[in-house]
Symmetry: C2
Subunit: 326 residues, 2 copies
Amino acid sequence: MNIDMIEAAKKRLKGHARVTPLLSSPFIDELAGRRVFVKAETLQHTGSFKFRGAWSAVSAMEEATRKNGVLAFSSGNHAQGVALAAKNHGVSALIIMPTDAPKMKIDNTRALGAEIVLYDRIKESREEIGEKISKDRGLTLIKPYDEPQVIAGQGTVGLEIIEQAKELDVDAKNLLVCCGGGGLTSGVAIAIAHYAPNILVRPVEPVGFDDVTKSLAAGKIIKNKDGSGSICDAIVTPQPGDLTFPIMKKYCSAGLVVSDEDCLKTMAIAYSRLKIVLEPGGAVALASAIFRKKDIDDGDVIVIASGGNVDEGLFRSALQKYGNSF
Amino acid sequence: MNIDMIEAAKKRLKGHARVTPLLSSPFIDELAGRRVFVKAETLQHTGSFKFRGAWSAVSAMEEATRKNGVLAFSSGNHAQGVALAAKNHGVSALIIMPTDAPKMKIDNTRALGAEIVLYDRIKESREEIGEKISKDRGLTLIKPYDEPQVIAGQGTVGLEIIEQAKELDVDAKNLLVCCGGGGLTSGVAIAIAHYAPNILVRPVEPVGFDDVTKSLAAGKIIKNKDGSGSICDAIVTPQPGDLTFPIMKKYCSAGLVVSDEDCLKTMAIAYSRLKIVLEPGGAVALASAIFRKKDIDDGDVIVIASGGNVDEGLFRSALQKYGNSF
């Protein structure tokens, strides 16, 4: 993995992925006690940054291999990204999704033309199912984060942030990233280390699923105790990736951890102040900027709002609880 | 009013107003039966395009006049735009708002540092109140639409659309604009007539408040019967402006009319498919693309999503009713 792969992915994504805006609000600045800049990847195609990695991977494949189709396992955002990237390349996609994935994510993935196989997140291994189907049907597996071209695609978020932050005269010491397996975090970290080494990239995770934060602190991979139990479905992964962890260890600073409740509050704040829809897992970075301010270095802060695929019932309950609190 | 004023406004807005993205979704394309491109002005500072016109007007004032402060009357979006533009220019703002304006709009305008005077939308004339205070206190009135520099600022939305549509290979015959007094519609119409004369600009209004549609059909200004009664508060104006109507008459094609219920549906669709928050009045143009498709010329269509300042209760009810319907 290196910066050249990210630059190459940027070229392949041009005209296909969206350049998402870097948003801000004086009201959020006041809540956070500093200027906060929000990279709104929720506005990316399929509602999350995952489309970048998926497009990067599918577009990098040899035509002869690609035409046999692709396969992915995902709680929903990588699923939708791969489904749309495959569809727009004219090839088939099979996606393995957990039975407890948000309904919207399963429906969207199917509507984007993918074939869906459901599995039990607790009892079954998606990796095993994926490898078996991949072998049986000649499909190429596109892993959600431990895959160089996926990491390269996610890294293009970092390239855009560097450019946009310059235009807006942002002087940030910390860039906070919603972190699951670490594909986005490691890709962005490589880009930032290359072009803006003064900015520290920091993963943000939900309470109880802070495997990356713990692993970075310990210097070795540490697994989460539980397999499920957070509303942040998009970033509940068992442990950092074999490929992403060494990158994060090299380039990232200490992780931050936020509660599910802080995510709900942040969803209500992003609704009223930025006019964007965030899912819980896409809200953790902004949540940490607002609710963990003492743990963040002084100065402006940049956060990635990574996705917005949230069932309307959960979104409504966030608004009902906190819509008038901030 | 001419294109040079819009180009000049663009220069004054650079670095202050946000270049908002032109969004799309395969799901919305399917609902509309064509490609739909959504200019997301809900992502503009203060949550609506109104910041552009406000910044344009405040930045165009002579310094000696500006320092005495500005005054505006508005149901809330122009209010917030003027409040922030004044604040960022270091001058005071007094805003006259109807008592029935959404709570969020009143709160935000106050939080942006403006002084608020409330009036009764039915019994009192905001124009009369405004002119009196303006005279008494030496404040410069910035009208919400019948003001050349405001129209020029709103017209910059059209300049951006032309550029972005070119990048995305959009081939549209209709550009649909949420229309109240006609400031946005007339500004955009001048820009489009100059740079993309093949695109027809069409105002969109809520049922019962289709004064522009009726006036365009009659060739003369026709007032609405009622003063209130639509959820589309942002675009419920008594009649087209004296300045904006001749421009719309010269450059615009027939108007379109949508129901409040279609606006609620569209808010739910924009939530789930674009991840943006729309207020009812900011949703009418997209609503017409989806629910009035037979009345729109064939080919791609571009719509402006003009604002997103909606109280959370109303937004929740839109999601509850229609969140799972599309």
